[in-house]
Each structure stands twice: as structure tokens, then as C-alpha cells.
């Protein structure tokens, strides 16, 4: 009964209120171990996807890239350079044209 009233007091009137420890038992927080999906799929396209597969998959799976709307070449160049300059992706300069070319071919527009 007290617990119910306290809960009503909490949510009916105040936005944030503390509940004395004697009203509510402490929650049990248990150690947790999970297994996350590997996300080890490749970009499709065989040899045309070689550069993007070798350089981009360490940090993220391909799906979000493939879910992007068609973007102009300049936008894809900006994305790749953001990955290199800001997020420090270890992408060789020599591979950049092939990566941009794949993205423009797969997800590009004029």
C-alpha cells in the first residue's frame, strides 16, 4: 500500500522525486555477458569492391553504407576523407579513388 502510494506520488505530481530506501527494495543488477553478431559481411561486387572491403570493414559493417541514398561524387569524397582525417581510418591514399569509385557506382547520382 505504501509502495503504491509512493509510486503515485512520484509519477502523479513530481517529475523527479526520491523514494526512501525503506519503501523500495534495491534493484538487483546482475553481471551480463552477451554475444554480438559479428557483422562480417562484405560489400558486394567482387573485384570492384576489393578496396572498400580491405579498408572499411574494420570499423563498420557494409549495411549502413548500402542503405545510404544516392549521393553525388563530392559527397562520397567528403565521407571517405572524413573517415580518414577525423576518424583516423587507416586507408591508403592509393585506395581512395577505388573506394570513391565503388561508392559512386553503387550509390551515386549526378
Amino acid at each position: 500500500m505504501l509502495k503504491g502510494l509512493a509510486a503515485i506520488g512520484c509519477f502523479g505530481t513530481a517529475l523527479l522525486c526520491s523514494t526512501p530506501a525503506w519503501v523500495q527494495d534495491l534493484p538487483v543488477i546482475k553481471s551480463t555477458t552477451v554475444e554480438l553478431p559479428a557483422g562480417d559481411a562484405l560489400f558486394p561486387g567482387g573485384s570492384s569492391a576489393e578496396a572498400i572491403n580491405n579498408n572499411c570493414l574494420a570499423c563498420h559493417s557494409p549495411d549502413m553504407v548500402l542503405n545510404q541514398p544516392p549521393l553525388p561524387k563530392a559527397a562520397w569524397e567528403a565521407v571517405v576523407h572524413k573517415m580518414i582525417n577525423v576518424y583516423k581510418a587507416p586507408i591508403g591514399e592509393a585506395d581512395v579513388p577505388a573506394i570513391v569509385s565503388y561508392l559512386v557506382k553503387t550509390k551515386g547520382k549526378d
Partner: protein
């Protein structure tokens, strides 16, 4: 040949040696990089995540996404990205009540190094920096020694609904499901800071979780709040969500709750609190998650030279949850309409509904109020007398008098969409 390479990949994945820290486990960055290198050479194909696909109602493709149940402690979710996980809440979940179930609460991570194990006995939350006493708090310290508080609050990604931006912008292509409402239980950040004793001259408090970038040189994800905001008595550190411990992917064991502000500040797996005596100049505050300092954070596509500021408070929104585009009604028959609304950084004052494309508006009935920062259910009913197409609209006005705009905002990051929602239906 193909089999050989796949075997090499699976063997290397089996051989992953997790690096053990006191409280957490994660594969080492180097091991991940090595294995990805092998994966990059293999012909491995995408694991089948689900048979079912969902079509997100964007103006252009790709619209299809898998529905996945492959993630731990998660039920059916819209799969936006496997690694690091981006999982969207299906729209129908919001029709079932104002509290979003933990197992369908959306998930958004920036960096792929996410501990897959947290030992509650070894875990410590550090409080340090411009304070009198550095603290290292165990979960037990937090549960036992600090007053427990509870609060209902909406957690919404800055880029929720980005996929509806026109012209489209890069980023996670969310529909409307990068949001959720939960009853959070935990302790006040203020009480934690008071234990450490904030020194005079403190200007901000910076927060960091256990996640790390794969590439060590990349900027770790850290966010800061002004000292007065951090000590407002509402910002809290949650250890429970809807009455249970947090799912790991929603930030187990501790998550920062910043009521009324976008989720970018709600640091998951919160492990480090640093009181600063000068403004935080880290990338995630000064470059990423910044918005044009204009009404509705809106600019014209291509416009440059605009002052940018860190994204901050949320704005009002409302949604239909029991109908979608293309719904068909019998002309002249009353049909129930309902949905959810939230006020942003304050409560919902009213929700209005229009069945004539926004020419006239009628008030909808509001459901129970669980606190100003949470979802509020609304409902009404409508009879469409004339056969043909009708545009149904819903708009929320918050208790500060702010109403949803009738034209969409635009910015290059796809942030802060809150235009009035419209559903196209047919009376037959």
C-alpha cells in the same frame, strides 16, 4: 578455394582472445583489425538475419531493411547496421503504450569496440577532474548510498527521421523509430557531483562510456554538459529502465539521462565523469552534433557560413501509431485514431488533429501524464464523409507554447526533424 577461405575466417574468429580488463571484456583492437583483414579476403556472405523485410516510407530508396532478432536482449528490430549496432524500433511498438519495452528500445553506437561483458562487482564509475575528491564508485555504492530517483523521459536520436530529409543527407537512414520512452531509475548526477565536491571555477562536466574506437587514434566518444545543467537535479545516472537493469546495448550498467535533450548526451555504459574548468573542445562537442544557430536549426541546402552550436534541447513531436500511409476507411464511418506526442524539453500542452490537410484543427484527447519528459498518448476519432483521398495531420504544442512547424527543417546532418506529420488515407 572458397571453403578454405571461409574456414580460415571462422577459425580466426574462433581464435579471438578477448582482452580482460577488471570489469569488461572486448576483443582487442589489433585482433579485430587482423581478422577483418582476413574477412576482407574471404568470400564470406552476409549471415541471414531475418526472413522478414520492412519497407521504410522514404521518398527514395533504398527503403527495405531486414527485421532482425539476432541481437542480445532484443526482440524484433529494424536492422540499420550490424556493427556497430544501429537498431530501429518498429512503428507499431509505439501503438502499444507510452513506455517502449526494453527489448525493442532503439540502439545506436558510434564505435565498434563495445564490451560484451560487464562484471558488476568489478565495474567502477570514476568522478574526477576539478573536484575536491576523486571518486571510484561501485554499483553497490551507487545503489546503497545515494537517494533513488525515477523519471519518465523520451530518449531520441538527434538524427531520428533523417531518411525523410529532402534533399536526402548522409548518416543513419532512420525512419521515426530512433526514439523511445522509458521509466528510468537511478541517482541524481547532482548527488554524485556533490560527493566529489565540485571546485569553484568548474564550467562543464564531461562524460565517457566504456566503448572505444577500433582505431586508437580516433576521437573517443565524449559529451559535456554545462555545470549548472549537470547540477540541475534532473540529470541522472540510471541503473534501471522500465523496472529492469538496462540491456547491454542500451548502456548497461549505467547510463546518463538528460531529460529533454537529444540522446547524444545520454552516454551509455557511463564509466567516467570529468569536471572541467574550461570548455570542452573535443570533436564530439565542437564539430560533430552541431546545428545551425537558426530557427528550427534550418538552413537552405548548400548554404554556408552559418554559426554552428552544439545540439541541445528537443522540440515537440507527434505521430499517428495506428494508421500509416495508404490506410483505407469506409466513408462516413467513425474510425479511431491514436498516437503519441512529446513536448521536447517540456510537457505536452495540447495535441490537435486535422482531417482537411491542415485547414482546420480539433483537439485530441490526451492520455495519462507520466511526467513532462515522456510520451503522452493522444486519441480521437474521425468520420470521412467524402469518398477519395484525405490528408490526416497531427500536431503537438508544448507547454512553453512551441508548436510543430508546417514546413520541414533542413540541415546537412539531418538533425531535429519535427515537422507536422501527415498520413495519406482513402475513404471508400
Amino acid at each position: 578455394m572458397r571453403n578454405d577461405k571461409e574456414d580460415a575466417l571462422s577459425q580466426s574468429l574462433r581464435n579471438l582472445h578477448p582482452v580482460r580488463s577488471a570489469a569488461t571484456q572486448r576483443p582487442s583492437r589489433r585482433t579485430v583489425l587482423q581478422n577483418i583483414g582476413i574477412a576482407g579476403l574471404s568470400l564470406a556472405v552476409s549471415p541471414a538475419f531475418a526472413d522478414e523485410m520492412v519497407k521504410l516510407p522514404f521518398a527514395s530508396g533504398p527503403r527495405e531493411r531486414p527485421i532482425t532478432h539476432a541481437f542480445p536482449q532484443k526482440g524484433d528490430m529494424i536492422l540499420q547496421r550490424v556493427r556497430p549496432p544501429l537498431l530501429e524500433t518498429p512503428l507499431d511498438v509505439f501503438d502499444r503504450g507510452v513506455f517502449t519495452p526494453n527489448d525493442q528500445f532503439y540502439v545506436r553506437w558510434h564505435w565498434a569496440e563495445i564490451p560484451n561483458s560487464v562484471d558488476v562487482n568489478a565495474f567502477r564509475l570514476a568522478v574526477r577532474g576539478h573536484v575536491d575528491r576523486t571518486l571510484s564508485l561501485s554499483i553497490t555504492d551507487i545503489l546503497r548510498d545515494l537517494p533513488r530517483v525515477e523519471l519518465a523521459a523520451v530518449n531520441q536520436c538527434s538524427g531520428n527521421s533523417r531518411g525523410f530529409f529532402s534533399p536526402r543527407v548522409p548518416g543513419a537512414q532512420w525512419a521515426n523509430g530512433a526514439m523511445g520512452n522509458a521509466k528510468w531509475a537511478g541517482v541524481r548526477l547532482k548527488d554524485v557531483l556533490d560527493r566529489a565536491g565540485v571546485k569553484a571555477g568548474a564550467v562543464q562536466v564531461r562524460f565517457k562510456g566504456l566503448d572505444e574506437p577500433v582505431v586508437p587514434e580516433a576521437p573517443t566518444f565524449r559529451k559535456s554538459l554545462a555545470i549548472d545543467h549537470a547540477r540541475d537535479g534532473e540529470v541522472m545516472i540510471a541503473y534501471a529502465m522500465n523496472g529492469e537493469q538496462l540491456p547491454l546495448l542500451n548502456g548497461f550498467p549505467l547510463r546518463l539521462i538528460v531529460p529533454g535533450w537529444y540522446s547524444t548526451y545520454w552516454i551509455k555504459m557511463l564509466s567516467d565523469i570529468e569536471v572541467l574548468d574550461k570548455p570542452d573542445d573535443n570533436y564530439w562537442m565542437t564539430v560533430a552534433y552541431t546545428i545551425p544557430d537558426t530557427p528550427h536549426a534550418s538552413i537552405a541546402p548548400g548554404q554556408s557560413g552559418v554559426k554552428m552550436v552544439p545540439i541541445n534541447r528537443m522540440v515537440p513531436r507527434s505521430f499517428f501509431t495506428n494508421i500509416t500511409d495508404g490506410a483505407s476507411f469506409t466513408a462516413g464511418t467513425r474510425v479511431p485514431l491514436r498516437g503519441i506526442a512529446f513536448g521536447g524539453d517540456t510537457g505536452v500542452a495540447k495535441v490537435e488533429f486535422s482531417s482537411d490537410g491542415g485547414k482546420s484543427w480539433q483537439p485530441a484527447r490526451l492520455g495519462d501524464d507520466f511526467g513532462k519528459y515522456g510520451f503522452r498518448q493522444w486519441q480521437t476519432d474521425v468520420a470521412l464523409a467524402d469518398k477519395g483521398d484525405h490528408a490526416l495531420m497531427v500536431r503537438c504544442t508544448n507547454s512553453a507554447g512551441e508548436v510543430q512547424p508546417d514546413t520541414p527543417n533542413w540541415n546537412g546532418s539531418g538533425f531535429m526533424r519535427n515537422v507536422i506529420e501527415t498520413v495519406q488515407v482513402k475513404a471508400v
